[in-house]
């Protein structure tokens, strides 16, 4: 399933510079150094953190996208960095667990 397929399925675009990326799993976490070593390539990463380091960790772990749960907003300057670094960012109005359940229903 592509990152862009999440739109209209309860997920909203913040920025999608590389929307054609395939998602092959999900990782959840807010402690960035922990996520850095554990999120797998092509995972959708669900978090409530929204600072610039999130974009850096997404680059390092090469995740398919970042999903900000609970309608967490991404500041404009960080959104601009995400675009430059080709990091897809979406948001969900649901809490983390429900966001993960929704992804589970959608992923093949």
């Amino acid at each position: 399933m592509k990152v862009s397929d999440l739109l209209n399925n309860g997920f909203e675009e913040i920025t999608l510079p590389d929307g054609d990326r395939e998602i092959n799993g999900v990782y959840i976490g807010d402690l960035l150094s922990w996520v850095m070593g554990r999120a797998q390539q092509d995972n959708a990463w669900i978090t409530i953190m929204s600072n610039i380091n999130v974009i850096a960790v997404a680059t390092l772990a090469d995740t398919a996208c970042v999903i900000l749960a609970e309608n967490v907003e991404l500041p404009d300057d960080i959104k601009a960095q995400a675009e430059i670094k080709d990091v897809n960012v979406l948001k969900s109005s649901l809490p983390i667990y429900e966001t993960a359940v929704r992804l589970h229903e959608l992923l093949p």
Binding site: L31, L32, S33, W34, M36, N51, I52, N53, I55, A56, V57, T59, L60, Q81, K85
Partner: protein
């Protein structure tokens, strides 16, 4: 990082990589405030590079585009309501007196505060990995119940050892015990007997 001691390890490795012959790690805990200072006499940074060090997309590493050491320490400090600053004098600008100083302040009673973790093991890991560079370590804990000062200087230990490498197993073991004893404080039970 789950523990600040891992941040300390990460930042100090940068000092060693910058060619520091001496790196000081100073932790000052007074009531709910923890101040961490890591100061080295390494090659330092130019003003331009210094501006970018807390940006995770800046790094001196060539193997990857992202450097997370200082950005994560800054985040850890700011999450508690504290702050982090970095000062540096480049060897190019001052060949005699150069180096970098990282200072971070944490409010330990913040719900998002990271525990300090195992500093003794961090210090031992540093000495083991870099037996030819010197480390000065000082940790003061001052609050209602405690007044502890832990201190160690590899320059002094080196003098006593007279040529024995600092990364010998027995030396590292001794340093570990030496630090742990200082944390434990004076032995009260022995005083009761006399």
């Amino acid at each position: 990082m789950k523990e600040l001691s891992l941040n300390i390890l990460d930042i100090t490795e940068n000092s060693v990589k910058a060619g520091a012959s001496l790196t000081s790690i100073i932790i000052d805990e007074e009531n709910n405030v923890l101040k961490l200072t890591i100061q080295d006499n390494g090659s330092g940074m130019s003003e331009e590079i210094l501006k970018g060090v807390t940006d995770p997309f800046y790094t001196t590493r060539t193997t990857r585009k992202v450097g997370m050491g200082l950005p994560l320490l800054k985040l850890a400090a700011e999450q508690t309501g504290g702050s982090m600053t970095v000062e540096s004098v480049s060897i190019v600008d001052d060949p005699l007196s150069h180096g970098t100083k990282v200072e971070a302040m944490f409010y330990q009673d913040s719900i998002d505060a990271t525990p300090l973790g195992d500093v003794v093991s961090t210090i031992c890991t540093l000495i083991q990995g870099h037996p030819d560079t010197d480390f000065y370590f000082r940790h003061r804990i001052l609050n209602q119940d405690k007044d502890i000062l832990v201190e160690m200087d590899t320059r002094q230990i080196r003098e006593v050892l007279d040529g024995v490498p600092l990364n010998e197993y027995e030396v590292i073991k001794w340093i570990e015990e030496y630090l742990n004893e200082q944390y434990a404080g004076p032995d009260d039970t022995e005083q009761d007997v006399t």
